[in-house]
Amino acid sequence: MSVTTADAVRPLPGRRWLTAAIVWALLLSVPAWLPMLGGYTALAARVLVLGLAAMSFNLLLGFTGVMSFGHAAYFGLGAYGAGLTLKYLAASTPLAMLMGVLLGGVAGTLFGLLIVRRRGVYFAMVTVAFGQIAFYIAYSWNDLTGGYDGLRGFTRAPLDLGFATIDIANNDIAFYYFLLAVFAVATGLQGLLLASPFGRTLLAIRENERRARFLGIPIERHIWMSFSISCAFTALAGALYALLNNFADPMGLHYTLSGEIVIMAVMGGMRAFWGPLVGATLFVVAQDYISSITVNWMSFVGLIFVLVVLFFPRGLLGMLQGRGGR
């Protein structure tokens, strides 16, 4: 017979809303408290952008159970899509974002078609391969992308709302809140997606592919859809990254960034919705702080990662939320 223990029951839904409330309170008030801790707004902007990338990646790893080691490719394509649009097409920030999402999203959708039948390590390996192909294209196509030096000569355009113009180009705080608004829409959509019947089929695939198949769920198609959606959101993060830096470079497509995205998601907690954001925060802050002391910052971040994985296998937020949280 089964024994009821407090442990065996999932935390009440209230716990999840509490996490969301804390996350939003902190994000909304960043300009008020961050300078007091010696931070600067651009650092918070970086957290938002990489946090969005990690959360988008986590749709695949944490909520579909499929590992990609090449998500930087879509991040980088998003960045180039936005940068090239601003440089050659039009000085429109929304158009730049749209083009970035399209470039990364379509690339992910087409590539996804080819690989959904692969599983596990094989899937991860082909995603690395595609990422490196994208990297070398960006690296070699000097005329278009600026090659190794990266794409320069564009700046984000002020946001024209029709009745008012928001100067996100020069006002850091305005730009931060612009990023936060995009982040809110993107993560809101992700939350709705995961709460939908389609989202539940992804959890089903993660939990037990065989059972899911015998419930009539077309596994390959749903993994493909999840991959495409994940890539499109990652590309959005990449587009925002180009806007943040007014710059796009091949390292934005390199597999080291893919690895960092994985580290953020796992460190923060891949089963927790906000986990990757927590991981991204730790990563970005640690990188910023430690790299001001030593050039070997990556070894320290690596050490933190190892410690987190050893002592909190569910990640930082997973540990804080207790068992079964998401």
Binding site: F214, L215, H222, G324
Partner: protein, 249 residues
């Protein structure tokens, strides 16, 4: 009238003939048990029926349609559902969520990004029905992975039932269970058969369960059909006694 018509199927893995020329007909509403010693080819036979893999030769006709080479999803859509020897569930989801995935899949909502209020009401009703049927009402919000073996099995069967299957395939539903749990699962199967008129094919090792539940029994040995008949006929059959029952008792 036949619900399931298996015609002369064989399955070869390389030079090994796991199943050789077995035929079987199951009538609507029948509960058929497949028994046989280890290595008799029972699970291989099952896997061909459910579409896990195709037979090397022979045909499988379900409800008048040849399904021999159809993929799993197509068979599920036609009304075939199965459980596995080792319970296959979604361990880190609750009983209710496990069942909900089945309900939404069977209602054709699996690709929806949102639910209308009307659909949601239907889904809720389906979940409640299945939870009650499986006798898991008091455990509906527990994670399935943390339930007892018997309750996990009940949750698996309940999830399969959400597909409203016309044929339910159960691979050793009481495997690895104690007295009490075996009794509970056997009772669940009896209810499904007697009260809800499900057509059920099951593989089972527990002879008390088999002889109490089955309308007809198919005996396999070494990949071949040894005998087929009512429980009384099988109990009397000398070949079965020699090859199987005699050895077991």
């Amino acid at each position: 009238m036949t619900m399931l018509d298996v015609r002369n199927v064989s399955k070869h893995f390389g030079r090994l003939a796991a199943v050789s020329e077995i035929s079987m007909q199951v009538a609507p509403g029948e509960l058929r048990a497949i028994i046989g010693p280890n290595g008799a080819g029972k699970t291989t036979f099952f896997n061909m029926i459910s579409g896990f893999f195709a037979p090397t030769t022979g045909d499988i006709v379900f409800d008048g349609v040849t399904v021999t080479k159809l993929p799993v999803a197509a068979r599920v859509a036609m009304g075939m559902a199965r459980t596995f020897q080792i319970t296959e569930i979604f361990p880190e989801l609750t009983v209710r969520e496990n069942i909900r995935i089945g309900v939404e899949s069977s209602l054709g909502l699996r690709q929806r990004f949102w639910l209308r209020a009307r659909d949601l009401a239907v889904v809720r009703r389906g979940i409640d029905e299945a939870v009650t049927q499986a006798g898991l009402t008091s455990k509906a919000d527990r994670l399935v992975g943390e339930l007892s073996h018997g309750d996990q099995r009940a949750a698996e069967i309940a999830t399969a039932l959400t597909l409203k299957p016309r044929l339910l395939l159960l691979d050793e539903p009481t495997a690895g269970m104690g007295e009490h749990e075996t009794y509970a699962v056997a009772n669940l199967i009896r209810r499904l058969h007697k009260n809800s008129a499900y057509t059920i094919v099951l593989i089972e090792h527990d002879m008390r369960v088999v002889f109490n539940l089955a309308d007809k029994i198919t005996v396999l040995a070494e990949g071949r059909m040894l005998a087929e008949g009512t429980p009384a006929e099988i109990a009397e059959n000398p070949a079965v006694q020699e090859a199987y029952l005699g050895k077991a008792e």
